[in-house]
Symmetry: C2
């Protein structure tokens, strides 16, 4: 049988563990997998574009487990009462192909994206970073704020969003969840980023947007750019990318999807795993500008699904469902129909 | 909310409708989609190979619906009590990305594969075909036998499998389900195919096998070759493919995966949709040999998922699950965690 986790199931795991344990726990899984990057079967995600958005499949595998995520990106969804990003995915045994976990990944994508950002910033930002500007205060914002608070010790947040209601929602949620965070609202991106150590951009518009321009970037800043993650969807002016070394998850995918899509094919970037394993340098001085051009990669979902599988087992959360039946005779698939008709079962009870 | 269909759910639909209605009903959905082939966003499936098998993702979309299937192929699985092929998949709205159906596709893949074979044979085999050899009597065999019986009026089956127990299982199932079928067992492929109108090969070995050789092929035969469906996995000797026109589902995929993988890149083939729409000729005379080199294409799962969606609604079968939550405030994803902690719900009830 396969375990099914719904969004409420994942929310219960998060509520029972608390944000601190969730972010640090999931970070351990991500780091462990990034450190063995070369063991993974990797490909750029498979995207299906429409006039309103994109639907993607993101598979990866090591020698033991296979994972994939189904995920959409539809920036106008909130106007129809739907989330911009919805996702689910699965974990399967490589040796047999049997799916062992099917899980919602809507909430989980927000968690793993924040953990990836924190993992990259811990390696690339100045160690004394305490303040962060958060540009884009939608569904992903709380997760970014809490992950940076828990993992990096960020204590001051500067907020800006074109939609003031989104900023109010973020402030209210953070006041309840992380009351020690100092929070200030701003009326523009330029004002919000002034003087901060880290700038996180997480905007949803599927367009060649210019959220950050070079004049806003100060020496020593770390830029955590998440929203340029799709062909035709960028956030950084090209000159921002020229301000310092650019780090990416999986170069072939980021060249197509990231802010990097604006740059020539020979524009130098460094894959994050090389910094994490010590093969490449990260930040070289306190005055360097470091840029993480993040688009989200299948490996992060692989790690998140591994974390979910273990957390669900530990908390006893999840439902067993039968999508890949264990038959008494594996060659007698038709027997399932016959048995249902006769009110019998040919499924092996487990 | 998303509807979930388990294998038992799909088996109940099949048991309630009966094989005849299932095969003819699903065939209408497949034909309707094949006739509008050019409306679909198509790509070869994305495969992850290991030493024991393969795991694949098969996406496609039209302007309204997106579908994908997760499916494995592990020929040694039955020895471990598992099915060779296990699958599940989903149907989503293109306009919003919302998944509307997640379903088992293990049983469904067997159904849609048989329906595709019957659809192709109805267009390519001699109209007076009444006998079929079935080489490979595993999990897929009953479905092939019943679909050809229901759709083409096949009344005589010749069976052969290297595993006599598989043949006995098939005979027993068919005796109960289609007692009017005349069935004969044979001790070799060569004996089984002698004098029949249609030869269906559906063997599981992941190897360059030679199930059919040119000397076995008689004038007027239709060859329905299913088991050569993966790089390194073939069933037909190359000379069999030279016996007559070869028809395929989606040429770029079949060149990589089908028996066609043995042939030069310029070996001529015709896509089935062109025959079905009248753009290309099928069989030209009663003495032609026609060959359907079938590997399974995402469009067939798309059609099957559409059929499942409608059948499940009609029969009131399926469970509602929440993997892509409808939030009261779509930008307040974090609210799910807060609400679970407070024992509240932020999900819109539908």
């Amino acid at each position: 049988m396969t375990t099914l986790l719904t969004t409420s199931d994942v929310a219960r795991i998060v509520a029972q563990q608390g944000p601190s344990q969730v972010f640090t726990g999931m970070l351990d899984y991500l780091l462990a997998d990034f450190l063995r990057w070369q063991e993974f079967d990797k490909c750029a995600r498979v995207a299906s574009h429409s006039t309103t958005g994109v639907i993607e499949l993101m598979p990866t595998a090591d020698h033991e487990l296979y994972s994939f995520k189904f995920v959409n990106g539809h920036p106008n969804n909130p106007q129809a009462g739907l989330s911009t990003v919805m996702a689910f995915g699965a974990l399967a045994q490589v040796s047999t192909g049997e799916p062992i976990l099917i899980s919602e990944l809507t909430l989980t994508t927000a968690l793993r994206t924040a953990v990836t950002s924190a993992l990259a910033a811990r390696a690339l930002a100045r160690p004394d970073s305490r303040s962060m500007a958060l540009i884009g205060n939608g569904a992903q914002a709380e997760f970014q704020a809490l992950a940076f608070h828990e993992v990096l010790g960020i204590d001051t947040l500067h907020l800006y969003d074109v939609d003031p209601a989104a900023t109010r929602k973020l402030e209210n949620n953070l006041a309840l969840t992380a009351p020690s965070l100092r929070i200030r609202r701003f009326d523009s991106t330029a004002d919000a980023v002034k003087g901060v150590d880290i700038v996180t951009t997480v905007t949803a518009d599927k367009a060649y947007a210019t959220i950050l321009t070079a004049d806003m970037i100060e020496p020593g800043m770390h830029i955590n750019a998440l929203g340029g993650d799709c062909p035709g969807k960028t956030e950084l002016h090209a000159d921002v990318l020229r301000k310092g070394p650019v780090f990416v998850e999986y170069e072939p995918q980021t060249r197509i999807e990231g802010d990097l899509q604006q740059m020539p094919a020979d524009f130098a970037v460094t894959e994050l795993w090389r910094v994490l394993t010590g093969l490449a340098a990260g930040r070289q001085s306190a005055r360097d500008v470091t840029i993480f051009d993040s688009v989200g990669f299948a490996l992060e979902d692989f790690s998140a699904l591994r974390w979910l599988r273990d957390a669900a087992a530990r908390h006893g959360i999840g439902t067993r469902i039968e999508v890949a039946p264990r038959l008494q005779d594996p060659k007698d698939l038709f027997g399932v129909v016959r048995a249902v008709r006769q009110g019998q079962t040919v499924l092996v009870q487990r």
